[in-house]
Amino acid sequence: MQNSRMKKRIAFLLAAALFLGLITGCAGDTSNASSAQPNSSQDGADQQNGGEPEELSGEIVIWSWDEGEVEAMNQNFQTAYPGVTLKYVPVDNGNVTVKLQIAAASDGEFPDIAYQEISTRGRIFAMNIWEDLSADPYNFDESLVWEPMLNLMKTEDGRILGIDREYNPSGFVYRRSLALEYLGTDDPEEVYALISDWEKFVEAGTKVKEQSGGSVYMLAGLDDINWMLSGQYDEVVFDGNTAKLTDYYTHVLTPMIAIRDAGIAGVMKRWTPAWNASYNDANVLIYEYAPWSGTAAIKSNAPDAAGDWTVIEATGGPYTMGGTAYGIPTKAENKELAWEFIKWTLLTPEGTRATVNSLGVIAPLKDFYNPIPEYNDDYFNGQDVNKFLLETIAPKMTLRPVHEYDSILNDVMSMMIDIIQDDASIGLEQAIQMAIEETKNSLPADMEIV
């Protein structure tokens, strides 16, 4: 009898615990909530103007996909703002837009700073969930940063919705040993002369293919020049209700079809295991190069190949590749602290120095490079890569403004690369028409296509 009563009590308690667990599980998590609590809370003016760094305290929540980077930035920032910490919330690069959308749709929590990666920046800006950093109380001074960058940080109506963490004038990097063996020279000027336009590029690639018996490629894949060709197109594609697709796709597909027909590119896609392995396998002569490529691609994938790389201008001209901006959502809890972080990290000499040392990027603060600090890296055979990028490539760079439909162009080209690689009978005109048709499917029905 007693056992039976005990069992009933236990059953009742279990049911109640289950029920309570369900209710508490539905409660929001407030532990991530952060609040800026300056010591002098009465002085709003101080807070608007940033206040004294030592006086500020609080936690800045950052959505990022790189914990190491956030930790490094946290340590740097605390040297000036000892009372403020960065809280890293992992959000995969591909999921940032999804998470922001979900937060907006469900009135959920936003971070104080979210990363705005360049491949989806136009779409992220179009979400209209960002603070305008050119307006009060931020009043970002455009003259502080490199001019070409501004087009990547602004909307069509001139609002600055993010500050780029890095400046990425980009070119090619080639493998010296392969160049010497198959092109007959590893001198950068001579190598560039051999690939200075796409016709010469294909000729050089054909020579490499013939001499190596097909074992060495000029490029790892057509995907390797997709971003470059897009970046080199500096005219506006989406102008109001008009999409100028024919000219854009002609620009991008013409060299790709020529390279495909010559059979001088591999079939690897960027950032896949095969592409990463190609750096170590020494079977590809040329890759795209941005200032971050040394750390992110070359050194990590080919740790034993120091001295075998040199950066040159890319065929077709300069471009920008990659890049991440810091944006402050309008629903962030700690906007003022977030701005303090962005200002110090990217727009002050002290913070810029720390950022450059930690991340190995070319910082957006242009006065920091007056004069250009010396940068010698074993990997590049003594070449001062930053000096080359800033003095040779950057002055020629013009960038088209970001647009919310840019990612549709990337999407279509990603598909077109598969199609033209798989079917060699598809010529340029057909490829252009296919790309335009595919793009139309994703654009508003009333958009005029030219």
Partner: protein, 314 residues
């Protein structure tokens, strides 16, 4: 006296019904919040144009008209899924049955070990599965191409993941690998329900192995096969994470659906539409895709049921 007896019984009944309620309420709350509400809310959303952030714009049935008359990908995604299912479903059912019969043999040594390990692929996360097959079938460095070249069967690597037909074949192979363990397990359970006397009697009458399978086992496992077919079809139409991982791992900005969208599934299309992928997101239209898929699965299930019911009558 009777009332005195009834009173404790009613109290007991009240206590039992209260306890019962407490046990079922959590489920119904969970169902209401996480199942019923999303179903109803997405139906409501299907009449709006909404990117998930801005203002909802009421557009009536325009989304439905677009889905069934102008959408370039919805029916393609359904067609892709049907093709892939026609590839892997019969293979897993036939192979699963044969494997189950084999593993049911009392004379097999270590059959418990095999029965357990053959189920392991089913519990591998779809994400891991997609990544694994992406590495195996990579054009340049994939293990499959390396083996085929080493055996002299091909001279250069096959573009498994870049060619529409090959991509579907890879997906079929992946689904077979994943689903086989589950099918075998269900068939093993079905086999335990077959009376051993039937098989012994057949053996005494001179029936061979194949005849026992054909005339006794297969007919008696008809309901199990029907169950596996229906659940396999429903599961097939919900394919999403494995193909997505297979074709987009490591690639920022990769388009949805694999080469020429040959492996685009309805749920992948729904996800891509809802959360933008690389184009503008449209929650309203994504809701319509969900309902379109629901209608399709409903029609297929009804047809399947009617065919089975008719065969049962025969």
């Amino acid at each position: 006296m009777k009332n005195a007896l009834k009173a404790p019984r009613r109290t007991m009944e009240k206590k039992l019904s209260l306890a019962g309620l407490l046990f079922v309420i959590p489920f119904f709350i969970w169902y209401g919040v996480f199942q019923l509400f999303p179903i109803l809310y997405s139906f409501y959303l299907s009449f709006f144009q909404w990117d998930g952030i801005g203002v909802k714009e009421y557009i009536g049935i325009q989304n439905y008209i677009k889905l069934f008359t102008k959408d370039p990908y919805f029916f393609k995604s359904i067609g892709n899924t049907v093709l892939i299912m026609v590839g892997y479903l019969p293979i897993t059912l036939i192979l699963g049955l044969l494997l189950a019969i084999l593993l049911f043999e009392p004379r097999i040594r270590g059959k418990r070990f095999f029965q357990t390990t053959q189920f392991l692929p089913y519990i591998v996360a779809p994400v891991a599965c997609g990544l694994l097959f992406m590495l195996l079938f990579d054009w340049g460095t994939g293990t499959i191409n390396q083996i085929l070249i080493a055996l002299g069967l091909i001279e250069e690597g096959i573009n498994w993941l870049g060619n529409p037909t090959m991509a579907r074949i890879v997906l079929v192979i992946m689904q077979c690998w994943r689903q086989l363990g589950y099918v075998v397990t269900i068939y093993l359970a079905g086999l335990t329900g077959i009376s051993p006397e039937l098989l012994e009697a057949a053996e005494i009458d001179g029936a061979g192995k194949f005849q026992k399978i054909r005339y006794i086992i297969v007919p008696l496992l008809k309901n199990t096969t029907l169950f596996l077919t229906v659940t396999g079809i429903i599961d097939g139409f919900q394919m999403f994470d494995a193909p997505k991982m297979l074709f987009t791992t490591g690639q920022v900005g990769a388009h949805a659906g694999g080469p020429q969208r040959s492996c685009l599934t309805p749920v992948w299309y729904l996800y891509d539409t809802a959360f933008g992928g690389n184009s503008a997101s449209n929650m309203g239209y994504a809701s319509v895709i969900a309902y379109g898929l629901f209608l399709f699965i409903l029609i297929v299930s009804i047809i399947n049921y009617k065919i089975s019911a008719r065969k049962g009558e025969d």
